[in-house]
Symmetry: C2
Subunit: 199 residues, 2 copies
């Protein structure tokens, strides 16, 4: 496509690096940005720069924040004794959506994945251990994704936590609320049976 200006090609390339965005979609997005009024396109660029410049990891839980400490860790109404371990900031978002959880978080920024050469030292486990060894934590809730890598990571961390005598729990597996039994996969049904509760 060398009949397009190189700056446009470059922008298409950038969009194509985003996850889930293929070449065609990248073209569509780049053309759309080109069709925007100047000030809107520039404010898009500014939003990226500003977010990147102003946002850091919370000094306590490593969630994204624009202060030194994130709003969850700053909130004195929340229980600092409970720490929910999530793979990334999207995990925080998901748990917060339940409006149920009143503890704090720890963001791992990844999961252990030998396939992708991501070992325990490549994610933020050390920081979690430091928090727990400080002695203020009573319970650690593992909320990694329900897949092999998430499971591996959860087990690895829970083994590391054993010497500290802290309670380690895990999100329950089971049938999704509002789901239909016939569409629930076998593995989930098995877990739901295993975890059955008295009524």
């Amino acid at each position: 496509m060398d009949f397009f200006p190189s700056a446009l090609d470059n922008l298409i390339d950038k969009f194509a690096t985003l996850p889930g965005i293929g070449r065609k979609t990248a073209q569509r997005l780049a053309f759309f940005v080109m069709s925007l009024p100047d000030e809107e396109a520039i404010s898009f660029a500014d939003a990226i720069t500003e977010a990147k410049n102003s946002i850091e990891y919370c000094a306590i839980c490593l969630n994204l924040t624009d202060g030194e400490i994130c709003v969850v860790c700053r909130d004195t109404g929340r229980d600092a004794g409970i720490v929910c371990v999530v793979p990334d900031s999207k995990g925080v978002l998901a748990i917060e959506r339940s409006h149920e959880y009143k503890g704090r978080y720890h963001v791992l920024h990844g999961v252990i994945s030998p396939m992708n050469s991501i070992g325990p030292d490549d994610i933020r486990i050390k920081e979690l251990m430091a928090r727990v060894s400080d002695g203020d934590v009573d319970e650690v809730i593992m909320a990694t994704n329900p897949d092999t890598e998430g499971e591996t990571t959860a087990r690895y961390i829970s083994r590391l936590l054993q010497p500290f005598g802290v309670k380690v729990t895990r999100l329950a597996y089971g049938i999704p609320v509002g789901g239909s039994l016939e569409f629930v996969d076998d593995a989930t049904l098995m877990r739901a049976l295993e975890g059955r509760l008295e009524m």
Copy 2:
């Protein structure tokens, strides 16, 4: 989600304004950009600014270009007497992919769409008329999309062109190459029959 930094919320909002990008995808993209190394995120922002600043409409065909005249219009090997009318720059890209066309283009930057209050004066028809009335054009090929708005636009323009005595053609309708008859819709089959050629 007011527990996320406002700069991040703002970036999510920006991504969500892109066509075909919903709230969830916008979040995913924003988080991804946050996870990039600083220089990569900044170079994304720069790509937008630079594309927007350096790219203009070609003075002849209104396609996107970084010079005054685009590479197609600059190419003396192409036939300036044939003008292919496309709705947008993506149309140029599509026709070029055929490697068949050796004429020039005219980019309308939209189609007539009463539903969206886009009238003939809102798209670049005037510029096409000016090119034709200059007398160098022998044939105008209408390559608008094969939908109602594209058809309407093509018919409107071809009526305007009548007084100039220029040849006006349209891309052929028919069954797509490599397609299977059973999946071709009725309207297309009808057009394919109407436009049948002797073998």
